[in-house]
Symmetry: C2
Subunit: 797 residues, 2 copies
């Protein structure tokens, strides 16, 4: 029915695509990937799989062994990602802990003699660390600034931001976050670890980095874009699992926050990666416990154990907890709004002035942070140590710089401690541990907590968006636990009879702020439970999160979504926009002319089309014999460019290629059409063609996707959106209404009946396909009376 010349072309194409890698899922869908946001340029980074008859037959022939091998390969790579991310996390933690440890040790050693000298040393070390970070980022890996989570989320949604998955970005992220976190800025290392995991996964998936000659010939390349995306999803989960030592939380984070397409099979593999990370991190910590890692071992990996605290909770406490939730929603939404505003200013004014401004900005921030965190505790009057009966197990005062509460800093008397220094002049890890600590009622004064809250909130807002790797989890937990503890203090005061711990409220506060800012729900809940190693407060955390997210949603979107929007990463939401209901498919794409290519296209025409348009895909139309036309498929810009560059398919006349002879498979390798994630694709400007070549022709039939998804012209855009979004498409053809239906596919058609043997069915259908390919079935269909229209179009001459 398609005309025998087309059918023959399909036969000729049989061998070219025989090496397309299979996936365990059977069919490679064309995925949204690589729509570059700098306009529809040629930077499409994946290849759109050609699902043609040859491909399918080859798949069937290849047999079970290859599928098994490919599945094993995926699991092996998941293992590698887990090990790699785990080791990266250990390395970052080790470095940060040691730098911080040395810094505080040096400072405390000096302030015994002079507070001014101590301050100078403290400031200079901070400045040096932060400078190293901002220098790496600005000079070497600009894509490694920030948390990277919006960019990775965009990548998994189908938008490639240039450079986010490069090897240099990975290196910049690791060393940059060591500097910025070690330098005491108000940011965390958890977001960058997610990015790190994603980079590791992506580099493994493409077989290393060619530019830095660390690619390996034996690393097989995943040529399917979906497989690469799955690996990156594993990497994200591994990052969270490593950052928080929260393997289940990592899986849920990848599921809830990062990925756009989720399959339960993937969940199982992501879970495996997380488990591997947990094992790697645990082994490393066991090794470090023996003192092999310097300061590391006492902190670093977050486990803020809050066991030994409040055992139970009563209904009177629900009101203060609701207040914490509301506070979290308000402060979180405000945080999002302020950072959005500042990021906007930075993008449009400050950071346009060049790298020097970025460096100066970060250095000034480092100075300011040092001054505030060192100076404010100096102004604070010390508090006498509590009597020992209330506080069992805690020494007071502690020598500064050691692990524990009640830090002695600038106190005149012996048994006094500085409550502001306990949380402010400390590593963030220890500060949070101190805020979460139980059995330490009245350790902090309301005044200190308020001061700290205001100053740290301010620092976190202004630090966000600077040119250093920066996560928002730890600052969020710091802010949240401060006001949570503040509320807890009032609860302790008002409900004196209850066994209330301020540390519990600090935990709830942390959950509420993260809920109000990042707007995650289930994953955040699990992460909070895992990092505190305590399940008792799960319902409370849930309650607080519900409230804070609901309150925050009244004002703006989640932090990552807002940032993604500002950065111009156009995420496709799960749901279509309201206005789409009123737009028809035809009208949605009417703004631009459809540029169709004929099946046998003149090289000069192809070049001019590629030069004059920026579309990534073109419908290919063959002219029927009675003057009518027939859409025979979709050709991708990137594939067309490969064809133009290789030139082997050029032919002198405009006859279909099967008449030319010569097997196509000898001319192309499938890998020609696959491009690595981390390099730019071909551009039409770089292809030089002689006049002779411009006069030649190419037959596109072997290279096109013969059946892209189609929608009728008057389907509402909302329905089209669902199709596009759910299947992860890049191109949908809008076609006229059909004249008749050839059939109706329902659930029953898609299920093997119980009594039927799948093997028999497979044989049947294969032979059916053969029949069709040999033209027998086609002629049978032609004889039927069901297709008068197309029949007349194609056969009438």
């Amino acid at each position: 029915m398609l005309g025998s010349h087309i059918q023959n072309g399909i036969d000729a194409a049989r061998q070219v695509w025989s090496r397309i890698p299979t996936s365990e899922d059977g069919v490679e869908e064309e995925l949204l990937f690589s729509t570059d946001r700098n306009g529809g340029g040629p930077e499409s980074l994946d290849y759109e799989v050609i699902e043609n008859y040859a491909y399918r037959e080859e798949q069937a022939k290849r047999g079970k062994f290859f599928v098994w091998y490919y599945v094993m390969l995926k699991w092996f790579f998941s293992l590698l990602i887990g090990v790699g991310t785990g080791l990266a996390a250990v390395f970052i933690n080790l470095a940060v802990e040691n730098f911080s440890g040395w810094k505080f040790a040096a400072t405390f050693a000096i302030i015994k003699h002079s507070y001014l000298a101590g301050f100078l040393v403290y400031t200079i070390i901070n400045l040096a660390l932060v400078f190293s970070s901002v220098f790496i980022i600005t000079q070497f890996a600009p894509a490694a600034s920030g948390s990277g989570i919006p960019e990775i989320k965009g990548y998994l949604n189908g938008v490639d931001t240039h450079g986010i998955l490069l090897f240099r970005t990975l290196v910049g992220k690791i060393f940059g976050s060591i500097g910025s976190v070690g330098g005491g800025l108000a940011l965390g290392k958890e977001g960058p670890l997610v990015h790190t995991g994603a980079c590791i996964a992506s580099l493994l998936g493409q077989g290393g980095s060619a530019k830095y000659h660390i690619s390996s010939r034996w690393l097989p390349i995943f040529q399917s874009d979906r497989d690469r995306r799955d690996l990156v999803t594993c990497g994200c989960a591994a990052g969270v699992a490593a950052a928080f030592r929260a393997p289940v939380g990592g899986v849920l984070f990848a599921l809830e926050e990062m990925t756009s397409w989720w399959r339960s099979h993937l969940m199982w593999r992501v879970f495996f990666t997380s488990a591997i990370v947990a094992v790697v991190v645990r082994s490393a910590m066991g090794w470090c416990k023996n003192g092999n890692c310097g300061h590391f071992g006492s902190g670093g990996f977050i486990i803020w154990d809050i066991s030994g605290g409040q055992e139970d909770y009563s209904f009177q406490e629900l009101l203060p907890m609701a207040i914490i939730g509301i506070l979290g929603g308000l402060l979180g939404a405000l945080f999002n709004q302020l950072t959005l505003f500042l990021t906007y200013l930075r993008r449009n004014y400050l950071h346009r002035m060049g790298n020097k401004v970025k460096i100066i900005e970060v250095c000034l921030l480092s100075l300011m942070t040092s001054i505030i965190s060192f100076g404010l505790p100096l102004l604070r009057k010390c508090t006498p140590c509590p009597t020992s009966e209330v506080n069992s197990g805690f020494e007071c005062p502690n020598a500064p710089g050691t692990y524990g509460n009640y830090v002695d800093f600038y106190c005149s008397k012996d048994n006094e401690y500085n409550d502001l220094a306990t949380i402010f002049f400390n590593t963030q890890d220890d500060a949070i541990r101190n805020l979460f600590s139980a059995k330490t009622i009245h350790e902090y004064s309301a005044q200190s907590l308020l001061t700290f809250l205001a100053m740290f909130y301010f620092l976190a807002v202004v630090t966000f968006g600077t040119a250093v790797p920066a996560g928002q989890f730890i600052p969020g937990i710091m802010i949240g636990s401060t006001y949570g503890r503040l509320v807890g203090m009032f609860v302790v005061k008002f409900y004196k009879k209850l066994n209330v711990e301020e540390g519990t409220y600090a935990l709830l506060g942390a959950a509420s702020f993260l809920g109000g800012s990042i707007r995650m729900t289930v994953s955040l809940c699990v992460i909070m439970v895992e990092i505190t190693n305590n399940l008792k407060f799960l319902p409370l955390i849930m309650l607080v999160l519900l409230i804070s997210k609901a309150v925050g949603d009244l004002f703006n979107e989640g932090l990552y979504d807002e940032q993604a929007r500002l950065k111009g990463i156009p995420l496709l939401d799960f749901r279509p926009q309201q206005y789409m209901r009123n737009v028809m498919a035809r009208d949605a794409c009417r703004s631009r002319q459809v540029v169709s290519l004929p099946r046998i296209v003149k090289v000069a025409d192809a070049v001019s089309v590629l030069q004059s348009t920026k579309h990534n895909g073109f419908p290919v139309v063959d002219s029927g014999r009675n003057g009518g036309s027939l859409v025979i498929g979709l050709i991708l810009r990137s594939h067309l460019l490969v064809l133009l560059q290789s030139k082997v398919d050029f032919q002198n006349n405009s006859l279909p290629c099967e008449l030319e002879g010569g097997p196509i498979s000898s001319r192309h390798y499938i890998s020609d059409f696959v491009k690595p994630v981390s390099s730019k694709g071909l551009s039409i400007e770089h292809i030089l063609l002689s006049d002779d070549e411009l006069g030649m022709y190419i037959d596109l039939l072997p290279f096109l996707n013969p059946s892209p998804y189609i929608v009728p012209e008057d389907m509402s855009l909302a329905k089209v959106y669902n199709l596009f979004r759910q299947l992860g498409l890049r191109h949908v053809f809008v076609v006229p209404r059909a004249s008749h239906t050839l059939g109706l596919i329902t659930r029953k058609d898609l299920l093997i009946e119980e009594n039927e043997d799948p093997d028999t069915l497979e044989l049947q259908s294969t032979s059916m396909s053969d029949l069709y390919c040999n033209g027998n079935l086609a002629s049978r269909h032609v004889q039927s009376e069901q297709q008068p229209l197309l029949h007349s179009l194609l056969i009438s001459d």
Copy 2:
């Protein structure tokens, strides 16, 4: 372009569909629902949403208030589901605990005097409880037998099993599981609780049960099938949350095991429901602690706290843990295979003989269970109590029937206990607690554990599939923890230096058996963590689950999938079958003739089509004016039946209805087209039409879905499958290849540009749509040269 007569009909349809409830998601997709598995009969239970211009415009007009109201309603219902399921769970637990408590108390009181009399009392109470259960199921609620999980999974996948969500099923499930669990059979109450939650959700979603007059006028009915499905998903999560007191586990269970379509917005609501359940259960338990609930309070809700046990684990233990994983995979797969075989026998032979056989079967099983659980411990020689220094905190021997280890049963000496009675002659809850218990090394002899394992495995296999409500979680945990503890005993023996607890291995064993049988991963892991209230062993549980699932997958599918297949519930998997790659869409549906209806159909013709076919949907084709035809949409069988029954749309001539006059909205309520989940739909046999009426006509245009999804004829079935499965469709039209494309929709067309104001766009598009409806745009398109084909088809006269 569609022709003005069609356009006018669309205008006329404007008001009928204006009351279709909106959902927060904007577009109601047509979902897979209600493909009845008894053949394509008329039992379609949802309605396929008519997405036409009128509907969309009405939606836009309705404004934000309605959407807000509808969203609030959904949240309110989630709350109700949480409260309802929580209370149901409390009720079941209370009843089971009290029945079991009385039973054991009575038995132990009597065996002080005579073991024979005690045995008789024990057996008779068990028999009475089990008989009550099987009587309820066979006589009153046959759909309530088994766990219900495969059926609910099928419902969420789009297959409606008759009766699973009725009110009588709910009642039967609750009282049936009290009898079967209280009667000591080798089954659990957790699976039934999932079904209970789903029933509660479904009944709430349809506004109560009409049959039993407990429907309420003020309960608004959710008319969208997707909303109902979402509620049932919430119900499933609530069931798990209530059964295990595992709110996060419940969410993950619903996500991983139950639902087929998942959106992150739904996750958030499911999470809320689970949190509510947790609060309800906790409140009830707090109330019961004061002694208000009889025996309840000491057990019932699962929390097998294993804290105080093993603190750490070493790498030498990985080998025995791997062995546990392998054992779990083997035994779990064997369990699946045996139960599958037995269920097959039961379905095809035993249970065909009627209800009496079912009742006798269950009663015999109860007798056997009683004899084994009472008799075997009698044969066992008692063990001397361990010296007190090893076992701190445990009394030995305990009086039988009390909460604790070391039960004194048929022991001759004073300080002896019966280790088999400790686990066998006990409630399952206490038995598991005893198996998990730490600090009780060498409590059980290998011989006792092996005996118990063999006997209980046998009992669990034969009990599965009988006509009582039965869950597989608790039996699975029992079996798994037994061989886990057995392995643990050997580990204790071989690695004497390590601080190893047998209870930890019991926990891992339980995880491994469930992993090997049910094949859940992430959710099972979280549930295990939540029920043991211990996060330390998370990586170990993960490892064990990975191994046991992988081993089990070598042999067969998961328990629920196997059972669903046997019960003839055709679940659509996420992935297409391998053979589908080689089949074209056209060939997949070639087995049956497409029955198209004309736009203006004669009543007699419609009736004969409905009588002669069992299809659930029919393409509607309008004849173009030059003899060509045009597919204008899809009409559902159920809608056609409603039209035939109401008769108000009958007209005497075959002219399009807009020429007849009379607003359609006065003739139909949207609720006419919605059917409750729990009743059968209309059938063509029940519609009586006179000869006069049979000679009349109906204009179908206002009632059809104008733009169903379409695929080109030669797309591979695998791609069609993806479309069908991902979007949850019921019908896909297979159409000929298009002659030309009207446009190409890409990501950019679906995104509002950053600079554009969405409001403006919405206005624009609305006005565009108006233009189109007024025919202006249509004529503009007619003037363009892009659509020669359709142009000639429709306009050429």
